[in-house]
């Protein structure tokens, strides 16, 4: 089993997980990590934080999905026209 290695650039102040010492660049990611990997150990407040972070993440994913769908539609139509013009 390979363990994931991390390297913190000098001068950064990482958010460190108190259960496994893994550093994260933002509080949000730390909250998500704790919820996913240390759920049974969490306090009630931490669990609420996790749910909030999940909700934020869900919103961000929703907008990402829209953009991804736009890309797919664009690719589809670009190829439709390319084939209409070049395929003999």
């Amino acid at each position: 089993m390979s363990t994931v290695q991390s390297a913190v650039p000098p001068g950064d102040s990482p958010a460190v997980c108190q259960y496994c010492d893994e550093p994260f660049p933002t509080e949000d990611r730390l909250t998500l990590h704790k919820g996913l990997n240390h759920w049974p150990d969490l306090t009630e407040a931490e669990r609420t934080d996790f749910h909030d972070a999940r909700a934020n993440e869900r919103d961000a994913l929703g907008s990402f999905r829209l953009r991804a769908l736009a890309c797919i539609v664009a690719v589809y139509f670009v190829f439709l026209f390319l084939y209409a013009i070049y395929a003999i």
């Binding site: 390979s2 290695q5 991390s6 550093p23 660049p25 990611r29 993440e57 690719v75 003999i88």
Partner: protein, 472 residues
């Protein structure tokens, strides 16, 4: 649940789009063959055919990013059925397989020297190239790794004193990478696939090398790290639906072990997987007109004043093998560095590269099937006849001609391999990053590399075949 409905609807729409693109690219490929005869012209420009292949991969990566439910991904990857253990049956299969393999190995070397010097009637050539080079890897990635039950060299080392030195940890799997590249080099440079006597000598040399290695470093360490053939089968076997875990046989969804973190544990494993992809691309390239032209250009350049044609050609083949491998490896490694920058994470680029490397095995499996399916089908009757009567093979064995749609099939194999790789990389990234957006972003550079690999291999499939020049 309305959100589920929307999600499901979007996925159905997206899949329809992707299948349309896929059907287009397969239709575009009709009318080509893998043989060395002139092919019919493409109905669409080549750049459009290549762009479609690349776009298929890119669009499917976008599609994979629609699957954001961790629980769903996890449940797909942990689905498995355990088979009864039956240790006695497995032990007997191993004993029987290894005995047959040792007898087969001796017979192959013997018949290589004494048998007919005709490749399509020689047991040595047919078993090596149709059986071990083409057939067994297919079994390894479609069914399960058969090599531990066959490995004749390992069987031989069980009766020898082994383990005089400890295998140095710092070597990792680098000797296997050197080994696999050397095997490919020998396959290209020497007439091993046409002259049984040369092949028998090569098999003898390889046997001496690998048995000596196992005697010096101990059988377990040697075959786990340094023997290129065993390592190759272990990696191809990681794609298979049948896996051996802690002594029990389990059936899983094909490829779902590729998202596990224990398949690739060291940088040398990444290098080996890239070597698998590169060797198939390389042997594809040198058997096309573009490859032949490249070599001819080098040999007819002013350099020919310094060296004779054949050594210069050998030098050109070798340089191409090494440089191409370094480029493929560097592209993957650089993708790891970029992925780290994109995701703004503290996870090292080495860790990212390690976690996203196993899915590449699906790509290698797809290439292998695309490359060897035709050979396997056309020469399997000859192989069967040579195995049934090894001492008096028919002088004029049956060789099947694969139908034309086989080329379309090989393009489909390349694409399916990439699609599986995209999906498994998605699952690996979800496992690695707590933030799902970071996980999606981390895949962009790897998807670009995969698009590059796809375009190269589809380009090779579209080129007319040629015999590599200047090699006896």
């Amino acid at each position: 649940m309305p959100t589920f409905g929307i999600r499901f609807g979007a996925q159905v729409l997206a899949w329809i789009a992707i299948l349309t693109v896929l059907a287009d690219s397969v239709a575009a490929a009709n009318g080509m063959t893998l043989s060395k005869q002139p092919r019919e012209a493409l109905a669409i420009p080549r750049w459009l055919y290549l762009a479609t292949g690349g776009a298929t991969i890119g669009a499917s990566a976008l599609l994979a990013s629609f699957v954001t439910d961790r629980a769903f991904i996890y449940s797909l990857h942990s689905r498995s059925v355990s088979l009864p253990r039956m240790p006695a049956v497995r032990r007997w299969i191993g004993v029987l397989g290894q005995t047959l393999a040792v007898v087969g190995l001796c017979l192959m070397v013997f018949l290589g020297y004494t048998g007919p010097q005709l490749p399509s009637a020689s047991l040595t050539v047919l078993v090596t190239f149709v059986g071990v080079r083409a057939g067994l890897p297919v079994v390894a990635y479609l069914v399960g790794n058969p090599w531990p039950a066959l490995n004749p060299w390992r069987a031989i080392t069980t009766i020898l004193p082994t383990g005089f030195y400890e295998y140095p940890d710092s070597f990792d799997r680098w000797p296997a990478i050197a080994g696999i590249l050397t095997l490919v080099w020998v396959e290209v440079i020497f007439p091993v696939s046409t002259v049984p006597r040369v092949l028998a000598t090569a098999i003898l040399g390889y046997s001496l090398y690998t048995i000596a290695g196992a005697v010096v470093f101990g059988s377990d360490a040697w075959f786990e790290h340094a023997d290129p053939i065993t390592v190759l089968f272990r990696f191809y076997g990681a794609v298979a639906p049948i896996q051996l875990r802690d002594g029990s046989v389990e059936i899983i969804l094909p490829g779902s072990d590729l998202a596990q973190s224990d398949v690739v544990t060291d940088s040398s494993d990444i290098a080996f997987i890239i070597a698998l992809i590169w060797e198939l691309t390389y042997s594809g390239f040198i058997t096309t007109t573009a490859g032949a032209q490249t070599i001819t250009t080098v040999v007819e350049s002013p350099l020919s004043a310094v060296m004779a044609a054949t050594p210069l050609a050998v030098l050109a083949y070798t340089t191409l093998l090494v440089i191409g491998y370094v480029v493929f490896l560097a592209a993957y490694w650089y993708a790891g560095t970029i992925a780290r920058r994109f995701t703004d994470t503290y996870v090292t680029s080495r860790s990212i590269a390690l976690r996203l490397a196993p899915p590449l095995l699906a790509i290698a499996a797809g290439y292998h099937l695309a490359h060897y399916a035709g050979l396997l089908v056309s020469l399997s009757p000859a192989l069967t006849m040579a195995v049934v009567s090894p001492l008096s093979p028919p002088a004029n064995p049956l060789v099947l001609a694969p139908p034309n749609w086989f080329t379309a099939l090989s393009i489909a194999f390349v694409l399916v391999g990439h699609l599986l790789a995209i999906w498994e990389a998605h699952a690996s990234a979800y496992d690695l990053f707590p933030s799902r957006l970071a996980a999606i972003r981390s895949q962009y550079p790897f998807v670009l590399v995969m698009i590059g690999y796809t375009i190269v291999s589809l380009w090779l499939l579209s080129l007319p075949g040629a015999t590599p020049p200047y090699l006896g």
